[in-house]
Amino acid sequence: MTYDYTNRTCYAKAEEVAKMKLAHKVLKEASFTPSLPQRGYNERTLYINLSDLTVSEKPVTQQMKEIFIGGRGFGLWQLWQAVKPTTRWNDPENELIISPGPLAGNTQYPGSGKSIVVTLSPLTDIPIDSNVGGFFGPLLKFSGFDALEIQGKADRDVVIFIDGVEGKIQIEEAPQEPLDSHIAAEVFTHEYAKDEKDLQNVSVISAGSAADHTFIGCLNFSWYDVRRKAARLKQAGRGGTGTVFRDKRIKAIVVRGPRARADSNHPADLDLMAKTGIKLHKEIRDGDEKQCKMHKQGTAHLVEVMDAYDLLPVNNFQYGKHPETPKIASYEWEKRFTIGIPDGCWYGCSMSCCKGADEFKVLSGPYKGHLNTVDGPEYENAAGLGSNCGIFDKDWILESNFYCDVYGIDTISFGTLCAFVMECYERGILNKERTGGLELNFGNAEAQMELMHQMARGEGFGLIAGKGVARMKKHFVEKGWGDPELLADIGMEVKGLEFSQYMSKESLAQQGGFALANKGPQHDEAWLIFMDMVNNHIPTFEDKAEALHYFPLFRTWFGLNGLCKLPWNDIEPADNAKTSEPAKVPEHVQNYCDIYAGITGKELTKEGLILMSEAVYNFQRIFNIRMGKGRRQDDLPPYRAVGPVTREEYESRAERYDKQLKEKVGIDPEGKPLEEKMRLLRKHREDQYQKLVDAVYKRRGWTKEGVPTMETIKKFKLDFPEVLALVEPLLAKATYFE
């Protein structure tokens, strides 16, 4: 069956768009001189305070560029200066910072259109950084700003419009446009584009109605798809960025920039950029079909791979595979996606992973019966909304994916919290009375959707669930629902953030990858499962610690520069396996050094690249400590991420666990009661985790409590007076590694 990719419900009829625009009232107007970056930087950022409607420019200092680079680094630095240790997500001084990074917006190297959103998260109370595609970041840069910093709160719903062609910034009251992103992005794009040709030069940031009522609100960044003639969406998903956005009463941020050109960044060496980019385009052309099939399946190709290795989360991370997985496997999605048109979230991304399922007829809720293009589902959505909730129905996964995006909900947190709720329901911790009538058994897709609709309407059990797993656990305990220990074991969050969708039970390194991650358990810091569990390439604690040093830092670098991770290792050079360290994809690391030099004109070595990240990574750790998290006790995973919590889990893989008891713990399981075996295995695994933490802290140059040592702080020039005041008392009573 083929789908017509231009056929969808129209939300941007010219007369209606004009009417909505007419209802805007300009609250503030400011002008600026548009500029293009030189060697990747504009040397200024834009500051907007919504409480008093201040609009001003701030210089980018040499120190900012040297230590913080851009993107996530700039965001963390600006946020650090804006908040106090007592600041929480909904205080007016909390900021929302959007920064693309010096390499962002180049059109030659695949995956170069990312922005990084930084704010204090409502889920974690520490900084969250979320890497997102769409055209906003590059267009902001080509308007003249290296970051957009928003503080304060508006007293009514507003739209912020940055016109990088006319040099104008407007804060407008926007009373009529709907909040939900599929409509908002479409309408605002048409409101602010000058004409049809200009549509690709406009990008909209919006959230959705559920961001008003939950802590898991996400942001949608749009990019205009000329073939589909639609505003497509990419999400800054994690950590509640959309919640902060709506708390500031922002309905949309719109940027209109000049058309991006090959040299819009004024790169130091355009020929080097072109050469490096074309080399990768060719690799993707020749290798994608054999490797990841991004062109046909996006990231959904992972579903059956994860299932095969017992890594696909099923029923709240209890199990790693399911007989019904074939129903949501990549070849099924491939039938649903439109293939053969460019699906890159920025120009030049030949990975083209943003698959669209066209002509999807919405099954429930306020848009029932509408025809839409659903972006994705990406692997995380198929696993989180699907298998982890026991749902193996493609159409319902498309449905929940669609609504997550348009309501402004993080699919990963939603999937994980819904899975938790379902397990609580199955175990009697919740029941129909406690959920207000929702029968939240595993596999009940309609109940899952109703839970989501409640979040958007701000009612019922949706309000409780929408606060995330950590707060639900607390709430259930306070109500006397369920055993607190069990709740702690099965609630899949660390630091307040829900886990992303991979099973880490059999990979100690990945347990660290999740629980030690600065922002909370998100795989974009480290994904070591294959290296560790499948290929056994990092057997010792030191090996794992080295991997947990290198990979999080290497991946941090993408966020500093405005890049996507996928083109690094979702495509590999044909001879990669023959290199000495295939997991690092050495040739691609060299490409990154080359494009960094190509744009900024500064030479970069592979070692230098890691050092750049290390400074920012340590700074973020210190920031966490400042906000009250970020020490050893905050780096602990729930036991579900480490081993079998329940009898059923143990029994389902009894052979594996018995063998481990025998071979790794040196205990003969023969004749031992199940409870005893579970206890022994747990003790072993928890010990192993603690040993891993020691090895990692040591490698990272931290104390046993997880605080960066003075040596580390000085090495990266992070010895700002405020940092010293914070860490000196902690270091005075710290325990150091030999």
Binding site: V226, D263, G277, K279, H281, R285, G340, P342, S350
Partner: protein, 134 residues
Amino acid sequence: MKVLRIDLKKCDGTQACMTECARALFKSEDVAFSSIVVVRENGKSVATLCDQCGECISVCPTQALYRSKIGTVMLKKDLCTGCFMCIGFCTKGAMLRVSKGLVPFKCISCGKCVDACPNGALSLEQVDHENLPA
């Protein structure tokens, strides 16, 4: 549409076609600006020609590449964003770029090279393009 063909047996590698193409497209005497490439390898001519297949149209994110009414694949420079995906994805290597170039360039089947070839090695063939990407 018209597609450029070469009879390699007749080609002696004088590159008269390239000189003429560079002049026609860029008013340049430098053969690096030619959209047809003919080189000699081990005493034989090897040619890179665009056959107007339109694969590049499918990868272009801005629709800067399009098929003209008479079937030739053309570039609207004002829409081109310089991503060079068309260069990377062209299996014939016929989409080209010169040093410092902001946009790629390609053969537009104009036929100037056909007239310029002293050996009559080049010709334009009329081919049906109905089922090719547009």
